[in-house]
Symmetry: C2
C-alpha cells in the first residue's frame, strides 16, 4: 500500500471531493504535479473523464508524462457524476420496483398497488453516494496509475501546446481535447421552466418529488431508461417520441418484446409526436406539455418534464481557441490516429461524436496516447455490442433478423420462447433474477434470439432481454468477431441456469449438417 506525505486514502479523497463540490473556491485547485520533474509533458489532457483519464493512464503506463486538467474536483467525468452511474442506479431501482409491484402483497413484497414511491429519495441517495466512486478514481489515478493532474481548475487553451489553469501555464508536446458532451437542449417554448429536466439537472437540482404524471421527451436510450424508472415509481409516464422508440435495438421481435413489456407496465408511448410548447404556471414552473401527434393536439398536465434528445459535443472552447474542424453535428473531426485538423492537437471521447459510449471514450483516449508516444495506430469503433435498460437489461450484438435475411440467403434463428400457440406465456427462458417471473409470470421472464448464417455456421447476431446477460455480451462479441460458429458455441461450458441460453441452444442444433431454425 502506498503512503507518503501527500497520500490520501479513498475516504479522505471522498471528504475532499465533497468539500470541493460544496465550496469550489474555498478548496481551490487540487494539484498533483511533480514540480521537481523537469521533463516536458507528453500531453495535456483537457478533461479527466473516461477518455482523458484512460488516455493519460495508458500514456503513463507506457512511460510517458501526461497531465490532466479538469474543472471538476474528481477524475472520471460525467459518468459517475450524472450519467452512467445514476442511470444504472435508477435502472436497478426500475428492475426492483417492477418485481416488487408484480408480486405486491405476495411473499415478502410490500403492498405497492396504487402507491407512488419517491424519486427524490433515490436521487438523494445517489448524491450522497456518488463521491464514493469519485474517490476511488482519484485514489487509483494518483496512487496506482501515477498520473499527474490539476483538478477543480478550468483549463484555458493558450495554443496547440499550451494550457493555462489555476494561474499556471503548462506546455506539452501534444494537446488532447477530452471535453465530452452535454445534453442537447429542447427547442421549444418553456424549455427553461422549473421542473424541466435532463439527466444532468435531475441529479443536480431536483428539489422535490415530481407529481403523479411525468412527460418524457425522446425515444433513445436515456429517455427509455429514465422513463422506465419514473414509471416503476408508480407514476403515469407519457413518452413523446418523434419517430419510434427503441429504434436502436436491431432485432424487430426483440424490440417488440421490450416495448410490449413497457406498455404492460403502463407507459404511454406516443410515436410521431412533436413538442409544441412546455406550458408554465404563474410561479415559473412547468404545468403541462403540448404536442402535435398523428391523432391531433395533445395536452398533458404535469409538473415534471424529462427530455433526452441526444448529446452535443462540448467543442466550443476548442473551436474558439484553436479553430479545429467540426462535422455537421458539431463533433471534432479526427483521423484514425485521433488527430484533429490542428497539428499536435488530438481529440477523444464524446467530443468526436458517435458512438458516445464508454468503450469508445476510453479506447480513443488510449489510442491517442499511443499515437502521441510514437506508435502507429488506427482506431475506428466497429462491430461493438450494445445495451440499454428498460425495466430489463436489453443487450445485443450483430444483426437483427431482418437485416440478416437481407444479407444472407440461409439465415437460421434459435430463440426462446419458441413460436407456439401459447405465445410468450411459457416457463423458459429462466435465469438469475428472472426466476420469480419464470415460475409465476412466465411471459415476463425474458426473450432471447441467436442468429446464424447457415452456410458458414457462424453467429451473426445475438439479442437478449432479461437480466445478467449484459456483461456476457462483451466477451461473446469478441468470440463472434473471431468467427464463432454454432459448433464452437455448442462446445462451450455453460454455467446453468445461464441468463443467455445460447450455448445449449447451439448444441441442440450443432449436430445438423444442414442447420434449421428452432
Amino acid at each position: 500500500m502506498p503512503t507518503g506525505p501527500s497520500f490520501l486514502s479513498i475516504s479522505q479523497w471522498g471528504e475532499l471531493i465533497e468539500e470541493a463540490l460544496a465550496h469550489p473556491q474555498a478548496v481551490g485547485p487540487i494539484r498533483n504535479i511533480r514540480d521537481d520533474d523537469a521533463r516536458v509533458f507528453d500531453a495535456i489532457f483537457i478533461g479527466g473523464g473516461a477518455a482523458g483519464r484512460f488516455g493519460a493512464a495508458y500514456m503513463r503506463a507506457m512511460g510517458g508524462r501526461p497531465l490532466i486538467v479538469d474543472c471538476w474536483p474528481f477524475l472520471g467525468g460525467s459518468c459517475p457524476h450524472n450519467a452512467c452511474v445514476p442511470h444504472h442506479l435508477f435502472s436497478d431501482c426500475a428492475a426492483e420496483l417492477m418485481l416488487a409491484r408484480t408480486f405486491a402483497g405476495e411473499l415478502w413484497f410490500p403492498e405497492l398497488k396504487g402507491k407512488i414511491t419517491s424519486i427524490k429519495e433515490v436521487v438523494d441517495l445517489f448524491r450522497k453516494g456518488r463521491t464514493g466512486p469519485h474517490a476511488v478514481m482519484n485514489y487509483q489515478s494518483k496512487e496506482q496509475l501515477d498520473i499527474e493532474f490539476l483538478l477543480n481548475a478550468p483549463a484555458r487553451i493558450v495554443d496547440a501546446k499550451t494550457v493555462e489553469a489555476a494561474g499556471e501555464i503548462f506546455s506539452a508536446r501534444a494537446l488532447v481535447l477530452a471535453c465530452g458532451a452535454e445534453a442537447a437542449p429542447l427547442d421549444a417554448p418553456g424549455a427553461h421552466l422549473a421542473g424541466v429536466h435532463t439527466y444532468e439537472s435531475i441529479v443536480e437540482t431536483l428539489g422535490r418529488d415530481p407529481g403523479p404524471t411525468i412527460v418524457v421527451i425522446g425515444g433513445g436510450k436515456t429517455a427509455i431508461e429514465y422513463g422506465c424508472f419514473f414509471n416503476a415509481t408508480g407514476r403515469r409516464v407519457v413518452m413523446l417520441v418523434r419517430h419510434r422508440p427503441l429504434e436502436l435495438i436491431p432485432d424487430a421481435e426483440t424490440r417488440a418484446y421490450g416495448l410490449d413489456r413497457m406498455r404492460e407496465q403502463g407507459i404511454e408511448i406516443i410515436e410521431g409526436a412533436t413538442v409544441v410548447e412546455i406550458a408554465g404556471d404563474a410561479s415559473g414552473r412547468v404545468a403541462g406539455v403540448i404536442a402535435e401527434t398523428a391523432a391531433g393536439r395533445l395536452e398533458v398536465a404535469t409538473d415534471f418534464v424529462f427530455h433526452a434528445l441526444g448529446e452535443r459535443p462540448r467543442s466550443h472552447m476548442a473551436v474558439e481557441a484553436l479553430g479545429v474542424d467540426l462535422d455537421a453535428k458539431g463533433a471534432v473531426i479526427v483521423d484514425d490516429s485521433l488527430r484533429t485538423s490542428v497539428p499536435g492537437v488530438y481529440a477523444v471521447g464524446d467530443l468526436i461524436g458517435a458512438p458516445m459510449e464508454m468503450f469508445k471514450a476510453r479506447k480513443s483516449g488510449a489510442y491517442a496516447a499511443r499515437a502521441i508516444m510514437g506508435e502507429t495506430v488506427s482506431y475506428r469503433p466497429s462491430d461493438w455490442p450494445d445495451f440499454l435498460h428498460t425495466h430489463y437489461e436489453v443487450s445485443w450484438l450483430g444483426l437483427g433478423e431482418d437485416a440478416a435475411r437481407a444479407r444472407y440467403r440461409n439465415v437460421v434463428v434459435l430463440k426462446l420462447p419458441p413460436d407456439t400457440p401459447d405465445g410468450l406465456n411459457v416457463g423458459l427462458p429462466a435465469g438469475d433474477r428472472t426466476m420469480l417471473y419464470a415460475m409465476a409470470r412466465p411471459h415476463m421472464s425474458g426473450f432471447q434470439k441467436l442468429i446464424l448464417d447457415g452456410d458458414t455456421r457462424r453467429v451473426i447476431g445475438a439479442h437478449h432481454i432479461g437480466y445478467g446477460a449484459k456483461d456476457a455480451f462483451q466477451y461473446l462479441n469478441a468470440l463472434v468477431k473471431r468467427g464463432l460458429t454454432i459448433d464452437e458455441l455448442g462446445d462451450l461450458d455453460e454455467l446453468f441456469l445461464n441468463p443467455t441460453y445460447f450455448i445449449q441452444l447451439a448444441r441442440l442444433r450443432a449436430g445438423q449438417t444442414s442447420l434449421t431454425s428452432m
Copy 2:
C-alpha cells in the same frame, strides 16, 4: 408452427404433466414413438435428464434414431424438478431478501427487521411453477427436436441392446445409461426423522414452515446455496461443516470476501464439525442436532435440518443388469468415448461422476451420441468455469492467486476494491444489481480479481463476487482457453457499468511493457 393430431401446445403439455405427477398410474405411459418406422433405434437413452435429452437431441440432429425412456412424465430430469431450477429460485430470493433487509424501512423496502418470511410460500410457488419449464422441454423435444420418447414409464434393462418399459420391448444398436445421481445420505442416527431434508425432499414434501432455527450440514455448493436462502428469510442458520466451507472457490481472498458477507448476514459457520446425532421428539420429528466440534459438543435445538453431502450416482440398476464397472465413488467408469466396460453400453451425465455439472451432463450426452453414430470423439471435461450462489453470485475460472504464484514466477493481480486503508468500504466496483449497495453500503458491492502471468501477459484466473457476471464467465473462459492476453482483453468493447471490470482494468495496465499489479 407445427400442428397435427398428436400436437400438444406447451400449456397442454403442462396440464398433462401435472396430471401425470398427481396420478401417474391413471395417466400411464406418455408415448411418442413412430410405430410405422421400421428402423432400429441407434440408441436407447435410459433417463431423459440433461445428459439423455441432449444426447438424444444431438443424435437426432445427426440423422440418427434415439429413444428416451424415463420414469418421470417430463424430459429434463432433476434439474427443473428439484435441483438447478429451485436452487436458482431460492438464490434469487436470497439476493432479493438481502437487499430488502439491508434497506429495510428505506425507499420502498418493507420493514423486515426481526421478521421471518415464509420458506414454504417460495417452495409452493416453485411447485406450482415447475411444470412450466417441464412443458417447454417436452414440447421442444417432440416438436422441435423430433425425439421419440416413452415417459412416465420406468425402464428395465434386459441386456446390452434391449430395454423393457411399459410392457414393451425395445432394441437398439447401443444403450446409453443416463440415470443421474441423487443426494448422498446423512450417516447419523435420526437422519430419517421428519424435518430432515435434502434439496430433493424440500420441494417434494415440505408441509409447513420451518421454525426460527435451521441447521445445515455440509459446506459445498448446495449447502451454501440453501443455507444462504434460509438465512435470508430471517432465520438463524447454523452450518456444520466437516472441513472448510466454500473450499471449492479457488482464490482465498475471494473466498474470504464471500464468507465475510455470509457471516455479516448472521450465518453461524462451524468448521471441523461432525454430526453425532439428529435428535427427535415424541412425534418422530427432528428436535435438535448434536455435533462434535473443536470447541466440544454442540447441541442446537431445531425442527429443520438440511443436509447436502454430495451426490451419489444412480448406478445400481446398471450394475445389476449389466455388471458395468464402477469407480471407488460408485460412478460408472467410461473411456473418452463414454463407453462403459460393457460393449455397446455408454454412460453419461452425473452417473459417470465428477464434475456433476450441467455442461458435462449435456456435453457427455452429445459426445456419446457422436461416438455411437460413428464419429471418433474424445471428451474429458477440463478448464471449465464454475460458480455458486451465496446471497451473491460467485463465479470463477482458472487459478486462484496462491496457486498462480506457485506455478508462475511473475504473477500480476488486478483487483477491485484495491488494497487500501479503507479496506472494502469503497464505492467500486458497482454494476447491475449492486448499485444501491455501491451508493449506500459500499463494502457490500462486490469483489473481483483478475490474475495474469506477467511473462506471457495471459489471463490465468478470474474471480468475481457480485451479480450479473456468471453468464460472462462462460464466454470469458473460452477466450482465456484461447490464450487471452491483457492486451487483447483491454482492447475489447465494454458495456459500462459492466459487472466484471476486467476489460477496463486490463486496459489501465496494458500499456506497460513490464506489467505490475493494481
